[in-house]
Symmetry: D3
Subunit: 327 residues, 6 copies
Amino acid sequence: MPLTDFGADELARYRPESPAPHDFDAFWRRTLDEARAQGGAVKAERVTERFRLHTVEVDDVRFPGWNGEPVAAWLLRPRGAEGPLPVVVTYLGYCAGRGLPTEHLFWSAAGYAQLVVDSRGQGHDTPDRTQGDGTQWVEGFMTRGIDSPENHYHRRLITDCARAVDAVADLPGLDAGRIVVTGGSQGGGLALAVAGLLGERVAAVMPDVPFLCHFRQAVQIAGDGPYRELVNYLRWHSRDKVEQTFATLDYLDGVHFAQRATAPALFGVALMDPVCPPATVYAAFNHYVGEDLTMTVWPFADHSSGCGSTPPTQLEWLAERGLAPER
Amino acid sequence: MPLTDFGADELARYRPESPAPHDFDAFWRRTLDEARAQGGAVKAERVTERFRLHTVEVDDVRFPGWNGEPVAAWLLRPRGAEGPLPVVVTYLGYCAGRGLPTEHLFWSAAGYAQLVVDSRGQGHDTPDRTQGDGTQWVEGFMTRGIDSPENHYHRRLITDCARAVDAVADLPGLDAGRIVVTGGSQGGGLALAVAGLLGERVAAVMPDVPFLCHFRQAVQIAGDGPYRELVNYLRWHSRDKVEQTFATLDYLDGVHFAQRATAPALFGVALMDPVCPPATVYAAFNHYVGEDLTMTVWPFADHSSGCGSTPPTQLEWLAERGLAPER
Amino acid sequence: MPLTDFGADELARYRPESPAPHDFDAFWRRTLDEARAQGGAVKAERVTERFRLHTVEVDDVRFPGWNGEPVAAWLLRPRGAEGPLPVVVTYLGYCAGRGLPTEHLFWSAAGYAQLVVDSRGQGHDTPDRTQGDGTQWVEGFMTRGIDSPENHYHRRLITDCARAVDAVADLPGLDAGRIVVTGGSQGGGLALAVAGLLGERVAAVMPDVPFLCHFRQAVQIAGDGPYRELVNYLRWHSRDKVEQTFATLDYLDGVHFAQRATAPALFGVALMDPVCPPATVYAAFNHYVGEDLTMTVWPFADHSSGCGSTPPTQLEWLAERGLAPER
Amino acid sequence: MPLTDFGADELARYRPESPAPHDFDAFWRRTLDEARAQGGAVKAERVTERFRLHTVEVDDVRFPGWNGEPVAAWLLRPRGAEGPLPVVVTYLGYCAGRGLPTEHLFWSAAGYAQLVVDSRGQGHDTPDRTQGDGTQWVEGFMTRGIDSPENHYHRRLITDCARAVDAVADLPGLDAGRIVVTGGSQGGGLALAVAGLLGERVAAVMPDVPFLCHFRQAVQIAGDGPYRELVNYLRWHSRDKVEQTFATLDYLDGVHFAQRATAPALFGVALMDPVCPPATVYAAFNHYVGEDLTMTVWPFADHSSGCGSTPPTQLEWLAERGLAPER
Amino acid sequence: MPLTDFGADELARYRPESPAPHDFDAFWRRTLDEARAQGGAVKAERVTERFRLHTVEVDDVRFPGWNGEPVAAWLLRPRGAEGPLPVVVTYLGYCAGRGLPTEHLFWSAAGYAQLVVDSRGQGHDTPDRTQGDGTQWVEGFMTRGIDSPENHYHRRLITDCARAVDAVADLPGLDAGRIVVTGGSQGGGLALAVAGLLGERVAAVMPDVPFLCHFRQAVQIAGDGPYRELVNYLRWHSRDKVEQTFATLDYLDGVHFAQRATAPALFGVALMDPVCPPATVYAAFNHYVGEDLTMTVWPFADHSSGCGSTPPTQLEWLAERGLAPER
Amino acid sequence: MPLTDFGADELARYRPESPAPHDFDAFWRRTLDEARAQGGAVKAERVTERFRLHTVEVDDVRFPGWNGEPVAAWLLRPRGAEGPLPVVVTYLGYCAGRGLPTEHLFWSAAGYAQLVVDSRGQGHDTPDRTQGDGTQWVEGFMTRGIDSPENHYHRRLITDCARAVDAVADLPGLDAGRIVVTGGSQGGGLALAVAGLLGERVAAVMPDVPFLCHFRQAVQIAGDGPYRELVNYLRWHSRDKVEQTFATLDYLDGVHFAQRATAPALFGVALMDPVCPPATVYAAFNHYVGEDLTMTVWPFADHSSGCGSTPPTQLEWLAERGLAPER
C-alpha cells in the first residue's frame, strides 16, 4: 500500500486545532476519584510453577479498576531479583487480552518488572459487565456507550489503566518512582491517556502507533481497523448523532491527553498504516506538552510498525534516560 | 459464487443426526415461565401523524420481554380496518433493528396487522443491558454469553420473540387465533424458535434463509456472515471451550426447534448462500415435525434469496391456507 | 472506506466550469417534439386484486415514450382516495426495473399517487429494441450508442422519463400541477434531467446521490459502479474516441440539466460514495439554477446514502413546500 | 487457486447425460438455410500498406453472416505465397473483437492463410443490430435473447462463424478442403459449434478451454467469467424462467455440437480454470463423436491455459495430420 | 474460511501412497557426509550485554552448514544455569530469519537452552550464495534449484538444520542426549526432516503445521502460501517439467522423512489452514514410524494454528516424556 | 481504478529534483569496460525449421553479456530479406523471459530485424549465477544485491542489454546505424538505460510505461507490482538501510539515464497505472535530454497501456523519422 496520508515533511508540521472539552479535567478528576473511592485490594497469586518457568517469577494479579471491579494482570519479574525494580506497565492492542504470561517475556528478561494489564471485555479474565442503555453497539467496543462520555467503554478501560499504576505501590519489590507506561495501537492510546492523567507519577511513556487519537480526522481517513466501527455507526446515525458522538469521543482523545502529558515520551509511527493513520499519530505528538519527545518513524511499515525491533529500541531509549534496572 | 455446499438432490435428503439436550424442553419452559412471571404491561402510542401516513395506522409499542424488560415494536395495520385482523409477527435480520415503520409497509397494505419486533441491542430502541460475566465477546452477539445457555444473548432474544406473540392478545383488534411468525436470516431462525416453543398458538411460520440452524456444521462451511463470529471465537478457545460452546448453542439451534414445531411452514433457501448455507437450512427443514411443509428454493441466489419476490410468495401461500384477511 | 474525494468545505465550493453544447436546448427540444409527435395512448389496467392489496389501488400502466414505444409503469394510490392527488414520479437506479408494485409502497401510504417508471432494457417489462450501429457495447448501458447523442441509450431513457410526466395528465385523479420527480443514483440523474427539460411543469425535484453528472471528472475518480463502464470503453478507444465520447455525454450530463432547472430541489449526497463521487453531485448542485435548493449530506455513507431515512426526509421537505396531500 | 472441480482421473471419466433437444438438428438446418438464402457478397480490400507490413498480405474482409449482414474479418496470408493454402479460421474470446491484423501474425508466419472472424457486437467492426424484445440483458451477451433459441445472441454469432467457412470458397488462393477452425474460450465454443454443424467441410477443430459447454453444470461451478452472467440473470428469474433459460441454451451447448462433430479434434483444458471449469470441457470432449481426439491438459493453469505454447502445439498436431502448408 | 479439505474423521484416516525415491537414503547420506567432510569450526560470541539482557545468556553462533558455509544461530540459555541443559533447536518459518534474540525468549525462560537456526538467504545473517544454473526462480525459494535434488535450495537448508544438531556437541554446557527439534510451518518441515535424518540423536520432534509435506497433493489444494510458488512455476512448465519437478521435491518431502523418523513426535495441525492444508500434514503424520505420536488439532484455526498456546503445550508434552530441565 | 497520482496537466510539469550520484558515469563506464574486456563470441543457430516458420528466419543467439556470460536472444528477420536491415532490440517485462520466437512476430512482419533479449534469471535460457552475499532477497529481483550498486541484479541486466547492442555488429545483415531499443515496463526501463549509456549508437528509443524510474517516489505511490518488493524489503530494514538502498538504486534510476540520453524518444504512459505510476514516468520524460521527444498518453489505461495499439503507433513514429525498412 502507498503512503496513508501525508509525506514525512508535512506530517512533521501537522498540528490541527483540537480543543479539549472545557470540563475535560474535571470529568477525569471525578472519574478517578470515584474509582479510587471504591477501594478494593490488590491480590497476587504466584503461578510460576504452573507455567513451568525457571528464570521468571509470575504473579496472577487482580487489582481494583473502574467501579472497584477486579482487573486481571500478569506481573513478571526476573526470578531472584532484589528490588525495588523499575516497572513497565503494558496496555494491550484492540481485542487482545493479557493472554498467557509466556507471551510477555521481554521486559523481565531485561531486568524490569512488567505488569501486563488485561483489557476488560476484550480478554479472557476481566469482564466488562456494565454497558449502559445504548443500543446498536455492533462490532466491538468503539460504540459501547457512545451516547455519553460517562458510559463509554474507554472511560472504564482508561480508568483501569490508571488504576494499574496505582496498584504498583501495593505490589512488593517494585519502584513506584520508575513506572513506565507503554503499548501498541489501543495500548499506545491507553499509555498516552495515563500519561496525561497521572502526570509526574509516570516516569516515561512509550506509545507505539497509538489508537484513540484525533477521532474527527481518523474517521475520514482510516481505511481499516476499529476507527471504521465509528464510521459504520455514524452511517446509521448521521442525521442526529454526529456531534454527540464526537462530543463523547472528545473526552477520550489522545490529542487532549497529549496536551496535558509531561513525561519523557517515545512515540512510534508507521507511514503506511491504514489502521492508525500517521496524521492522527502526529496530531497527538505535535500537541504533546513534555519536552523530552522522540518519534520513531517507520517509513515503509503498516500497522505492524517496527515488529520485533520496537522493544530493543525502547529499552535503549529508557537506558539513555536513566531508567535501566540495576545489574 | 458457485453452489455453497451440495446440489439440490443431496440437500433434499440431508437430515443429519442432531439430538437436542435432554433438558431442552425444561430449559425453555422455565425460561418462558420466568419471563411471564415478571409481568409488565403492553403499551401502544399512536404515531401515525408523526410519520405523516394516510393509509396505515402505526403504533409505537412496548411489550414486556425477557426479564420483563420493555421491547420496542411497530404495530402497523390498515387505517380504518375493522378487526380482528390476522397478524404477521416479523423478526429481524442480524444487526438490523426495527428501523422506521415506513420500512415495513407490505403486510398492512395487504390487509394484515403487522408487529415488527425490535432485536435487543441490535436496534435503536431496545437495550440489552444484561450481558453476564463472559469476556472476549468481540464482534457482535453470537458470543455474548457463550459460556452457558442461561447467559447467551439469543436466549434473551428468543424470549422476547415468544413474548411478542403473548403481547398480541393485549393489543386490540388483532386476532390471536391467526398469528403468523416470519423473518429472514436471524429473523427466520427466531420465527422457527417461536414456532417450536409456542406450538398451536402459531398459525403458520415462514422462515426465510434461517440463521441459527445446525451450528456444528454451519461453523465448518459458512464462508461469510455471523457464523464466522463463532469460528473466530473458537479459534482462540479451541483447547478448552469447543464442547461447552456447542453445548450452549444446542439450546438455541433451529434444528431442535424444528423437531418440536407443528404449524404449517414455508421455508426459503438459497443454494448459493455462504451466510446461511443451504445444508444448515435443510437440516432444520428435514427435521421439521409439522406435515404442511413447503420449501421455496432459490437455486441461483445468495443470501438475498428471493428479494422482493418473497413477500408476495408468502402472501399467496397464506391465502391458500385460509389465513388471508377479510375484505 | 475513507472520504471519496474532498472534505465537506471544499465540496461546498466545488463549481467546475462545464459549458453545455451550444445546441443542447435545440437537441432536447427536437427530441421531445419528435417523441410527442409519435403520439400513442396511455393505458392502465387495474391489478390490485392480482397482488392481493387492500389499502392501495394499483394500475399497470403503459405510456408512450421514446419513439412512441410503450413504457411500463406502476401507478399506486391510496385506495378510495378522492383526487386530484399530488404525484411522485419515481425513476429507478441502474439495472433495476420497476419490479413488483409491492416494492413501492411508501408514497401511496403517505397519501400520494406514485408513478414508478420502468427503465427500458433494464427492467422486465420495457424492451429497448433500438440500439443503433455501434459495437463494443459491453457491460451494460453506458456505452450503448456512445458514438453520438442521437443514439445513446440515455437519450431514449430520458425521453421516456419526460414523457412519464406528460402521461400524468392522461391518468384520472392526478393533479398535474403537483408533480414531483425523484429517484436515487440513475434515478436521481433522470429526475434532474426531467427537471431541466420540463421547467415549471415540475413542482419539485429530489435527486438522491444522482448518477449521470459531470462525466469528465467522474471517470477520473469513481472507484466503482457504472462510470467505470466508460473507463473500460475509453481504455480501448483512447486513441480516437475520447473527445467524441465526452461530446456525446455532454448532452446527457446532469450539470447541464441543473443549469436549466428551476424547481425547488432537494439533493442527497454521500461523502464516502465511490459510485457517484460527491464532487460530481456537488458539480450539479452548485450549478443548479433554482433558488429553493437544499442538500442532505450523509457524511459517513457510501452509495446507499440515507437508506430508509431518505423517504421520510423527502416527505417532510415536500410538506414544508405545501406539496403534502390533503387529508 | 486450487483445482477447480475434479482431479485428472475423475475428469477423464466425466460424461454426464446431456440429451440435445429433439429438433436441434432441424433448428440449425433451418438457421443456416435461412442465412444462406439471404445471399450477400464476400468483399476483400487489400490493406497491407496501411499497416506497413512486409511479409504478410492482409485483406479487410466482409462476408455475409446471419441475416446476410456483413461480418468483418481479417484475412492474412504469407506475402507472395502461391495457393491454394490451408486456412485457419479463428474465432475470438468473449468481448474481444478482431482488433488489428498485427495482433494475429502466427498462422501466416507458419505458411497458412488465416481468417480472423469478428464477433458481432463485441468488436469494433460488426454491429449486432437485432436484439429482440427481451429485457434485463445486463452485463453483456449471455442473456441477450435468452427468452428463446431463435433470439439468442449466440445463434447469430454461431451462424456468422459457420458462414465464415462458407466464405472461404469465395476468397481466392485458399484451399477449402483444408479448413481448420479454432479459438480459445468463446472462440473454442464457436469452433466446436462449427465442427458440429459443418461436418466434413471442417478438416480439423482445435477448441482451447472452450466456453459455451454444459451450461446446466457450468452455472453451478464457475467462479468467474461470463457463465456468471447467467447466474445473475437466473437469480432474478428463478421463479419462472429457469427451465426456459436452459431450454434456450440447450440449442447452443457445445456438448450437443460435440455429439455431432467428426473432424479430428485437439482440445485444451486447464485444471485450475474457474472461468471454463474443466468438468464442462470434459463434458464436451467425452461426448465428441470423432475418433481422432486429443486433449492437451494444463494441470496448473487457469483460464490463460497454455499461453504462448498453445499455437506451436497446434501447429505440430496439424502437421502430424497432413495439414501443414507446402513449403 | 471454511474447512480447507476434509473433516476430522477423514483426515485421521488419510494415508496416501507416497513411495520415496529408491536412492533417497543414499542421497541424504552422501549429502550429510559431504557437508561433514567440509569440517569448519563452531564459533560463539557472547552478546548478552549488547542486548541488555539480565536473565538470559546469549551467544551469537556460527556453525558450519552445507558446504561448510557458516550458518548463523542464536544460542540462548538461562543465565547462570549449570549444564548440561536439554536443548531445543528451533527452525524458522518461510522467509523469516533468526531476527533478534529478544524475539526468542520462551525456552530459556523455561530452563532450556535454545538454538535458533537462521535460514540461509531468508534471514539477515546467512547468505545462500550458491544457486545453480536454473532460471525462472521467481518468487522466493521453492523453485531455486528445482531442476534437480542436488541443486534445490531446501537440500542446502535441510543440511544446515541437520548440522545444527551436530553443532550442539561443540557448544559447552548442552546435553547432546536431550536434543529436541521443532518449528512451525517451514520450520516444522525442517524439524521433521532432521528427525528423519538423524534418528536416535533426536530426543523428540515437534513439527507445528509443517510445510514441505506431500507436495503432489499440496499443489492441488493449497489456496495460499509458498506451495503456490510451485503452481506458478509449473503453470509455465507444465509441458515438460512436471515430473522432473516432483522428482526433485520427492527428496525433500516430509512424508518420506516421516517414513524414517522414530523420535517421540508432537505434531500440530489447523483444519482451516489454506497454507499448509491439513491433508498434507496428516499425510506425514499417518506415515510417521515412531510410535509415541501425538497430534494437536486446532479445528478452527488457520495457519496461525495455536498462536501463544503452542509453546506451553509443547513444554508440557516434553515434561511428560522426561525432557524437562532440572530445577 | 481512478487516476493513480496526478491529472494530465500536473504531470506534464512534474520534474522533481533528482541528482545522479557524482560517479554515475564512471560507474557505468567501468561496468561496460569490464564486460567488454571479458570478450566472448556471438553465436547464432538457425532454428526456423524447428518452429515450422515460413516467412520468418529465426536464429537462437547467444551473445556475451555481463562478465562475458552467454545471454540468450532470438533474432527474427523477414525470410529472404536482403540486408542490412534496421534492428529493433526488445527488452522484456518483469519476470518474463524471451519465451518462444513465435510470440515475437510483429517487427519482422514489418520488415525489421528484431533481437529479443532474454532477462537473466527471469527467463528459461539465461541463468543469473552471481548473486553476491546479501540475504533476505525474497520475492524476486529488486532486492537481489540491494546492498550495493556493484552487486545489484539490474547492474548485470542493464549490462546485458547494452551488450546486446554491441552484438548487433557481429550479426550479419543488420544495420548497426539503425538500432532502435524498446520494451514495456521493465523493458522500457532497460531501453531507457541503454539509450543513456550508448548515446548516438542508439537511433531511437521507445520506452513504454517504463519501470525503474524515480525510485524514491515510486515506493511511496505504487500500489502494485515490483516497486512493492522494495517497500517490503525496506519495511524490515527501515532502521538502518533506507539510505543505502536508495544509494544503490540511484545508479539504476531511469531518471538519471534520461538525463544523459539524446536519441529520439517515444515514451508511453498510462494514467491509471498503479504498477508504474505516471508521476515516475513523467519524472524521466521531463528530464530527458534529447529534443525529439514524444509522449503517448493512455488516459484511461492501467499497466497494460495501449495493448495491441502500441506497436503500430511505434511503427508509424519510426517511419516518420526515416527509420522504416526498405521495401
